[in-house]
């Protein structure tokens, strides 16, 4: 995973709450067996509407998304994160994220930062006053700046550290292999096994 330090790019005011992962990427796009190339699928149904915010030329090439509460609810599909990433987004901010989405984002180097609702609304107003304005995200300092507006955001220490270092989770866990093996030796015999099939 690439190290995440700072990102500067066009900011998008995404003024919707409860953006579920079926909207981020409809199920019809989940049939692919690859991990990249989902940029065309992002918000596919909403993008048919010419008024949809990402169809506004002012937000072309955007990399920072500011959304309403409960972003990423519903299905566990990591494709939602892949689609945001493939489209070019590096960071998503919202007052609340669904737990699975936030976890998936952290695994793929997409920053999911929490900003309280009144502050998100201030950012929306600021962007709309100057569509195309650039946002600068500083993960080290946990701040985001949009024009002259600078705000802090929340992200848990562990995810921040992993993003800053670009660590791969499986590699980190396999350092504990001896502990895993010891745990397995203690497991009770009543616990289920799938093999041999009965």
């Amino acid at each position: 995973m690439e190290k995440f330090t700072t990102v500067t790019g066009t900011a998008v005011p995404f003024e919707r709450s409860n953006v579920d992962t079926d909207q981020i990427i409809p199920a019809v796009f989940l049939k692919r067996v690859t991990k990249t190339g989902y940029d065309d699928a992002l918000f596919h149904n909403w993008r048919q509407d010419p008024e949809f915010v990402l169809n506004d030329p002012a937000y072309a090439g955007a990399t920072v998304l500011f959304a309403g509460p409960d972003f990423g609810t519903g299905s566990s599909r990591e494709h939602a994160v892949w689609a945001l990433r493939d489209y070019g987004f590096k960071a998503v901010f919202a007052p609340r994220f669904a737990d699975i989405f936030r976890g998936n984002a952290g695994k793929q180097g997409l920053l999911a930062g929490v900003i309280e609702e009144p502050e998100i609304e201030r950012i929306w107003a600021r962007i709309k006053a100057e569509p195309g304005v650039v946002a600068t995200v500083d993960l080290e300092a946990r701040t985001v700046r949009v024009g002259e507006l600078e705000l802090g955001f929340e992200i848990d220490d562990y995810t921040r550290w992993r993003l800053l270092e670009g660590f791969d989770d499986i590699g980190l866990t396999l350092r504990e292999e001896a502990a895993i093996t010891a745990f397995e030796a203690r497991r009770e015999s009543w616990r289920p096994t799938t093999l041999p099939a009965r």
Binding site: P26, L30, K31, R32, V33, F97, D99, I170, E176, E184
Partner: protein, 475 residues
Amino acid sequence: MSGKTLAEKIWDAHVVTKGVDGQPDLIYIDLHLVHEVTSPQAFDGLRQAGRPVRRPDLTIATEDHNTPTLDIDRPIKDPTSRVQIETLRANAAEFGVRLHSLGDVEQGIVHVMGPQLGLTMPGITVVCGDSHTSTHGAFGAIAFGIGTSEVEHVLATQTLPLKPFKTMAINVEGTLRPGVTAKDIILAVIAKIGTGGGQGYVLEYRGSAIRALSMEGRMTICNMSIEAGARAGLVAPDQTTFDYVQGRPHAPQGEDWDAAVEYWRTLPTDDDAVFDAEVHIDADELEPFVTWGTNPGQGVSLSESVPNPSDFDDPNERAAAERALEYMDLAPGTKLKEIPVDAVFMGSCTNSRIEDLRAFASIIKGQKKADGVRVMVVPGSARVRLEAEAEGLDKIIEAFGAEWRFAGCSMCLGMNPDQLAPGERCASTSNRNFEGRQGKGGRTHLVSPLVAAATAIRGTLSSPWDLEHTNAEGR
């Protein structure tokens, strides 16, 4: 020191290494369920890194999301669906993972397969690359959905790094009236706490109304925990749980069974344990429930009317309600019972088990479906289909004018050909009423199997209470 909750006891029994300084705990996973949609990129990751599946004997796969529910003996028509299924078959063979393919008696929705095989049991940790993994919490297990990177992580290490959850008690006291079911309880819970109310929590469903539910009913409730924002929901194991598990193919046997039950009896939340949050629902007051909007929290009793967005104080909720009514093509103040439907879908991991099919059949028996309404009944697994046929439920369903299909996720999310056409309105026993979920432009009202049955008879959203002949049963 105060006691522990059910969830905390299970968590503590699965800590491989304890996290320090804000690091997550490393948690051991007892059972990993796999399906074709969220696994191909995970197996690919293993292949690229040269890693094996650490514990094939704790892993099991099935085909459910893409599988057709008609003509299952013919090649899958959609080439991308076919490639995804073939990829799972190749990966299972290469990595030594047990797979129940289309045509196999155990094939079906992954959350129906685990319990029917007796693999799902109290006191274990269960994961799957599917958010409705919360279903398995009905047995008193910690069960939750994971993303594809985590699927790869579990395949490689049989563990996950996880931060402890907060705990929330959902206390449901009282007695459900006939015609009111587990589905109505959970829809009412989601409407009460909202789609984000459970974020960061494990929900424990408690109280006399939960104790009175069958395992199928408890699975329906835990299934939709994710719709309240909670990754997991659970119910303390009791005699109902033990009776359901005992004798199934992978249930413990002999001394193992005795040791397991002895341990399982220690799992219920201690009397002096403290939850981080508590919610109360009065089961006596509940009525058949239905959603009117495009998220599962937008629901009311079926006897009510479509709400007016101006009734919502919160500006975000108001905007969401306005958008939802526009998408659903509904006017504020319309009586829900006057809303006609084009389709009824009876199925999904929420409501496709044998008891759900029995409840549905009990209402439609001897009746004819309303003209112009398409009714599709999709059992949760091939085994459920066989059980239903042994009981003659298929005959009741076909005589009613409904379609009796093969097992799979089907129209819950329309990855296979079972989809709504744009503008079609459906009463669905599934779990998500998101825009386009059941087909682009389709409109979904979430309901119980009993409401689905009554709606199929009358052609408008209805409950058994609206039927002359009602012999409503079902919990």
